[in-house]
């Protein structure tokens, strides 16, 4: 059992970082130049030097034979996401007793995945990559691009939640400075999305999930045919416009 002091309890803030075992940042690129659209998502290690950004951008452009105008755009986009991350980095975040539901709803090539599961935000040893690897292995997914997509989706959600908790920490600090005794409100606001462990696993109920929730939490992996893929892509593009 971890000692309570390592958890960011409501009194004990923790320095901001993505709550996984390695502090990797999810980066999403969506660049359009001259009608050519480039979409991509991957994980980045923020401790890599900044020269790495340019190197990576050039490599990607060369590998995919994109027009060279993409290089600066890609590098800029990565750089801005990195700086945004770094701006959060020095600050505190509150992570109370938080188990959050994470939803997966993505389509990679021919594979459609829908899933929902609970994730412990306080577990700083968690590893979305490992989860993704196991998921693909267990579900027998052959397309190797699915794994990274899952890992990135999980990371993005965790990142968002972490950002939210930083924001709420700031709020609560300001409020604390102003008026004492009102700390509970902002924290519970942030924890609204979290599953209240005490309620679900109280002394009366059992640990087993209720039957009606089984469908929600079951992973669904669908293989689509070509026409379905095309149809879905068309709807996505329409929505994006």
């Amino acid at each position: 059992m971890k000692p309570l002091s390592t958890w960011g309890s409501s009194r004990n803030p923790v320095k901001f970082r993505i709550p996984t075992s390695d502090n990797l940042l999810p980066i999403r690129l969506d660049i359009e130049i001259d009608g050519q659209r480039f979409r991509d998502a991957f994980t980045w290690n923020p401790s890599d030097p900044d020269s790495e950004v340019v190197v990576f951008a050039k490599r990607t452009v060369k590998d995919l034979k994109l027009p060279p105008a993409f290089v600066t755009q890609i590098a800029q986009s990565i750089q801005s996401q990195l700086t945004e991350f770094r701006s959060y980095e020095g600050q505190d975040m509150y992570t109370g007793e938080r188990v959050v539901p994470i939803k997966l709803d993505l389509r990679v090539n021919h594979t459609l995945i829908k899933d929902q599961f609970l994730w412990d935000l306080n577990n700083f040893e968690s590893d979305p990559e490992e989860f993704a690897r196991t998921f693909c292995k267990d579900m027998g997914i052959e397309d190797p691009e699915v794994g990274p997509a899952i890992a990135i989706a999980i990371r993005e959600q965790l990142y968002e939640i972490a950002v939210q908790s930083v924001a709420s920490a700031k709020e609560s600090r300001m409020i604390k400075k102003g008026r004492k005794g009102f700390e509970h409100i902002p924290i519970s606001k942030a924890g609204g999305i979290a599953v209240d462990l005490v309620k679900s696993f109280g002394n009366k109920s059992s640990v087993i999930r209720k039957r009606k929730e089984w469908d929600v939490f079951e992973p669904i992996v669908d293989l689509l045919s070509n026409e379905e893929v095309d149809a879905l892509e068309a709807t996505e593009e329409r929505n994006a416009r």
């Binding site: 994980t43 020269s51 790495e52 190197v55 490599r59 590998d63 190797p144 890992a151």
Partner: protein, 527 residues
């Protein structure tokens, strides 16, 4: 992961293809043609005959853990300097070039993930449909499919590409056969059957040059491979692969050479700072190559003058400063041994002056072990090289037998018969001596354990026997008691019967007495 990707077609990704003129030919026009019937054979790039004679190395790749799904006619070739690769193990040079995975700084970067990245990349490269056996894979294609952060994946990819384990096509090796020849020639001197770590530790042999089929675009591109610029004759920037003309920056710490452009544009790997580099003018480069004669002079001078580097520099001449001499001396593979024992250095003196030309060979012969961090081992290697191969073998053999006798267990030392390669013997014998000794100890331990167990079992058995005996005695005792009880009850019954009879007679007499009494009363009354 990394299985057949036939249905995988991403619109964003284009796959670069090279002309399919390949199909690596085993019947290469080499001096040493390695004709193996094995499925995978590495062709060696042609070696110029002017180089000192190299021992013929016929190498076979270790069998792969997973059989690739290519047809029988496909071969996969990797350059000979990457022979160390195996699916399951991590080699020394991997540890050196990609330290980030092994230094424990990050919880997710551990050897297991490194192996996963590396094997996935190589598997993907080899998984090509058999029509285009050596299609190159791009980094982007790879990183889309591997779960991990792209920086590390890129570094692993570059490393593998540099060592020719992926995207390697043998026909284009002739373009830089100069470099490629230099590397395997030096490495082949340190030829060992097992992946000996000392082969890559030798300071005399720099790590192999950049891949033969480096991307033709020689612009200041990415891949900052960690390979040093091969032989000292030419300085090639390891980042942009263009020859350095005016000035370049060398980092001895990481064995890199960068041209001025790359240095300025900070094209380093992670972990190297700009302070590690020192500026080297090209005009100096020519002078910094130490010829054998100069090295000879240097060593002589050191022995005569000891620590007086000024005099040493004088003796060496040729414009070498004392600093140069010190640096050169430190770089020599067996330099440390000179500092220690003066008597051994005298022996070396004789050897040196008598065999000037074979100096090179000797130095290279020593290099497998002489650079080992263990000074004792270095000494042993040095002395054994001096004493001659046969003597060393006999001595080692005697030592091994003595050790095994001492341990109290006789095992057959598994010394091989004299292999063809002379250098191998020292190493093999030393290592076998070690293993023999260790096996003795293990065997003795195992036997003592066995005996202990036997004793325990016997003791247990005897205890059981004792207990059963006791039980038996008790049963007998109880039987006797039982008998006695029965006898007594019988007696009791008899007594009861007697009592009953007595009671009956009493009653009878009582009745009789009563009657006779009555009759007496009647008779008295009648009178």
């Amino acid at each position: 992961m990394g299985t057949d990707n036939n249905h995988h077609h991403n619109n964003d990704t284009t796959i670069t293809t090279t002309p399919a003129t390949l199909g690596p030919n085993i019947s290469n026009n080499n001096n040493n043609s390695s004709s193996t019937a094995n499925n995978k054979s590495p062709p060696k790039p042609p070696i110029k005959p002017a180089e000192p004679p190299t021992p013929t190395t016929t190498t076979t790749l270790q069998p792969f853990g997973s059989s690739p799904n290519t047809a029988d006619s496909d071969f996969i070739s990797i350059p000979s300097y990457s022979r160390w690769f195996s699916w399951d193990n991590i080699h020394q040079c991997e540890l050196r070039f990609l330290p980030e995975f092994f230094d424990g700084r990050s919880a997710s970067k551990n050897p297991k993930t490194y192996k996963y990245y590396r094997n996935a990349i190589i598997q993907r490269f080899r998984d090509n449909p058999s029509s285009t056996p050596t299609k190159k894979i791009t980094f982007t294609e790879v990183r889309k499919t591997i779960v991990g952060d792209v920086g590390s994946i890129r570094r692993v990819f570059d490393f593998l590409e540099a060592w020719g384990l992926i995207n390697y096509s043998p026909s284009s090796s002739s373009s830089s056969s100069n470099k490629a020849a230099a590397a395997p020639q030096q490495l082949s001197h340190n030829d060992n059957k097992d992946s000996s770590s000392s082969a890559t530790k030798s300071a005399a042999a720099p790590p192999p040059p950049p891949p033969p089929d480096a991307p033709p675009s020689a612009s200041a591109d990415n891949s900052t491979t960690a390979a040093a610029a091969g032989g000292p004759k030419k300085r090639l920037c390891s980042a942009c692969k263009s020859p350095c003309t005016i000035s370049c920056f060398t980092s001895d710490k990481h064995n890199l050479t960068l041209c001025a452009r790359c240095y300025v544009s900070n094209n380093f790997r992670v972990g190297i700072s700009s302070t590690d580099f020192r500026r080297v003018e090209i005009s100096d480069v020519v002078k910094t190559d130490w010829t054998d004669k100069e090295t000879l002079h240097l060593l002589e001078a050191i022995m005569h003058y000891g620590d007086d580097w000024k005099k040493v520099a004088e003796h060496v001449g040729g414009g070498r400063s004392d600093k140069d001499c010190v640096a050169r001396f430190l770089k020599l593979p067996f330099g440390e041994q000179f500092v220690g024992a003066p008597e051994s250095s005298e022996m070396v003196d004789n050897q040196l002056t008598s065999r000037g030309s074979s100096f090179q060979n000797k130095r290279m012969r020593l290099s497998p072990l002489a650079d080992a961090s263990n000074p004792i081992l270095a000494q042993a290697a040095f002395l054994s090289a001096l004493a001659g191969v046969e003597v060393a073998e006999v001595a080692a053999h005697a030592a091994v037998t003595a050790l095994s006798d001492f341990a109290g267990v006789k095992i057959k030392a598994n010394l091989k018969s004299v292999p063809a390669d002379a250098k191998q013997q020292d190493f093999d014998v030393a290592s076998h001596g070690d293993t023999a000794y260790r096996m003795d100890g293990a065997l003795a331990e195992a036997q003592s354990e066995l005996e202990k167990e036997e004793e325990d079992v016997e003791r247990a058995l005897s205890e059981i026997a004792v207990q059963t005996k006791e039980l038996q005695d008790k049963i007998v005792h109880f039987e006797e008691l039982d008998l006695q009880v029965e006898r007594e009850s019988q007696q009791l019954q008899q007594l009861k019967d007697l009592l009953y009879v007595d009671q009956l007679t009493l009653l009878f007499y009582k009745a009789a007495a009563h009657k006779s009494g009555e009759s007496m009363v009647e008779s008295i009354k009648a009178e």
